[in-house]
Assembly symmetry: C2
Homo-oligomer: 436 residues x 2
């Protein structure tokens, strides 16, 4: 392999010959000297070419360089405080065009988000977008490391199913030989299956699919789900404890690896939250929100989006915390498989996690007693027969267990204070976006 | 959370009170004493209950325990060399049935693989299957750690696409609102897009889908793909170098964490391969195979399955190595996007990786010059128009790059000497298997 130096590593190198590889960001073609800003996955660098007769060929090449053109450049590295861009430059000795770019770039800084998504691979070349996916990498890896250190098993659950995993609405249908298959809306059934299978504790980060026709900033038809489930818990409290530790592990890693760069490019201070996160029962949260003067506009007992923002504001004022667990959701607004409280069957052992005013996760202890599951399903008006193999999971012994699901892009959106999922998804999928 | 001790941790604990949780594996109900073998995700333990009048209640419960019943047991741990199972036992003080199991278990040790897959959650309770997915966890994590340490970015590519990513055959169709979508057959296009996007080096472990109606031991309609792609390579040699280091990292971690247990339960010695892996040009490999007396039965220049076994046998004899890279495949049997050799356009800069006689991976340098890609596509009889946005990736500057794709379950199958993918997939999907 060519002895390449990443641009980010140049500052640590002594003056002397180096080879760098990347794409042309800008060309300043002056009478006596030419400057090229070269960018790679790690940063940007000023290349310099003093015009002179013996450098005619290089000068001509540079004069014709379009933005995006991929170059291999060898030259002399020189540290020089006067250079604004990182205090160093490379004087070009050899320059090879690896791949030319069309001169007219289809997107500009002020292009609409839709136009930018059409040309996502160009849009992703910006330093902010590049950083975004490095942050996601660090975050996901730190979560997996937390799980591995705590004895969790990684599962890769199937995305093709013979029936719905959550609701019958929002299901994508697949032609499957002579049958119809459906795309998994979550790994819910399968991570519960792993509990009956004696896996103990499991996790998965993988795609989930929702045929949701809405166009809000928070919805996508395909997104990356972060799921975990654990056996032998006493209540949802154990799940919350795991999830808050997990998030602290992820955010600590992000702050350490990228905190300064995030501050520079996004003007955001990554805050590692303190443990434990505040917990407020949902019904109490509703009272707090109403006492703050917001009338919750919903037909059920849940919070509305403004209510989520209000409770977050309350928690921020009261506890100085960005996160809050809203606990003990009424059974009426929870799925049939959430466990109820022993002393109040109208409430579930469940929670939502709110970060900076937006819901990022739902967790619960699951009901593992098959007769109770059946009763709760019937109570919801479901046909117990249709639950099929799911109920079998609980007929041959099932440990008490619980877990949560969380959207990875939603986390990234809130972490970097971005306005919508489109900006923080590698390739967004919505009702009218299937390309590139 | 209940102060639970994993069974595997009991050997390090001093005699005294403990709480364990798991499921009933066996009950031996004798006149004077009862034994229960309890199993959890980490191992198996003997529980003992001396029958006496004051222990009547416990005795009655034990007498009625069905296999699989989930228990929480508190009692006195006692190290005792005479106990075959791990040299320790727990004398029951309290026993709580968390969840009863139906007495008749639907599968037995001699059940057919299909029957076992119908009841996969019970099948997965066996120590071998439990170990299998712990091995997979360790292996996948070690690969990701290798990538992270080497500056790779994790990508989560969409599985819903507007067109085919590989061939038009074996595509699953999805009803997508008013359109038709297809399930990704690989992240090929998108990991290449990440190269043009300036990500440098990327990886993904995620599901891929093939509407392949065949029923062989090596095929599935959905499986977990291990994919990586890197920029600024000189040739496929750089890709092979990365992949062999990656596999050494994975196998080293597996051997360290599970080597002894794998030996015990699978009678397999995990071998950490030496670097570099042997490399043999495919055409040379064909000659070696034919010289060994095997007539290759194919209409093209590839090896047949027996040929793969023969070349593996040759490499084992010659180099004592389980792996071999077969390199420089003829262009006639490679996709249009593989780069050709400068000095021989009939050969590609590509390879297959063979492990113990089975192909586990294909890698290549990709063609990044758009005019050459178009020419190669036309040569394959493809309609260049249909490649759509894929070609755009190379019109605005694209670095030289290459990568590979590999099947995770196939790796596990070969690592643990298993006969087919069904045994090593958490939940197998084939033409007539969509459940559970």
């Amino acid at each position: 392999m060519t002895e390449r130096t990443l641009i980010s590593q140049l500052s640590e190198r002594a003056d002397g010959p180096v080879t760098v590889q990347g794409w042309v960001d800008k060309v300043r073609d002056q009478k006596k000297v030419q400057f090229v800003v070269l960018r790679d996955e790690s940063g940007a660098l000023q290349l310099v070419n003093p015009r002179s007769e013996d450098r005619e060929e290089i000068s001509t090449t540079i004069a014709g360089l379009a933005q995006g053109t991929m170059l291999t450049v060898s030259g002399e590295l020189k540290h020089d405080e006067r250079v604004k861009l990182g205090g160093l430059e490379v004087k070009i000795a050899e320059l090879k065009v690896e791949s030319e770019a069309i001169a007219e770039t289809p997107i500009a800084d002020d292009s609409s988000i839709d136009k930018r998504l059409d040309w996502r691979f160009l849009d992703l070349r910006t330093p902010r977008n590049n950083l975004m996916f490095r942050v996601q990498t660090t975050f996901a890896h730190a979560m997996r490391c937390y799980w591995i250190e705590n004895g969790f098993v990684e599962i890769f659950t199937p995305k093709l199913m013979a029936s719905a995993s959550e609701t019958k609405a929002e299901l994508f249908k697949v032609d499957y030989f002579e049958q119809t298959a459906y795309l998994a809306q979550s790994p819910q059934f399968f991570k519960q299956m792993a509990q009956s299978a004696g896996f103990g504790r499991v996790f998965e980060i993988g795609p989930v699919f929702r045929a949701d026709p809405s166009f809000t900033s928070r919805h996508a038809t395909e997104f990356t789900g972060v799921d975990s489930e654990m056996s032998w818990i006493d209540s949802h409290e154990d799940v919350m404890k795991m999830q808050e530790e997990l998030l602290v592990a992820g955010l600590t890693a992000v702050k350490e690896a990228h905190g300064e760069e995030i501050k520079e490019l996004f003007d955001v201070d990554v805050v590692v939250p303190s443990l434990p996160f505040p917990r407020i029962p949902l019904l109490e949260a509703r009272e707090i929100v109403e006492a703050r003067g917001h009338k919750i506009e919903r037909g059920d007992l849940d919070l509305d989006p403004e209510g989520e923002r209000q409770i977050a504001a309350h928690v921020k004022e009261q506890y100085g915390h960005e996160f809050v667990f809203l606990t003990d959701y009424p059974a009426s607004i929870r799925p049939f498989y959430h466990m109820r409280h022993e002393d109040d069957a109208s409430l579930t052992k469940s929670y939502d996690l709110i970060w900076n005013g937006v819901e990022i996760s739902t967790g619960a202890q699951r009901e593992h007693r098959v007769d109770v599951i059946e009763e709760q399903a019937r109570e919801k008006g479901m046909d117990v027969e249709e639950l099929g193999f799911y109920l079998d999971f609980f007929r041959y012994g099932a440990p008490p267990h619980g877990g949560f699901g969380m959207g990875l892009a939603r986390m990234l959106m809130l972490m970097l204070h971005q306005p919508n999922l489109r900006e923080v998804t590698f390739l967004f999928r919505g009702p009218n976006r299937l390309t590139p």
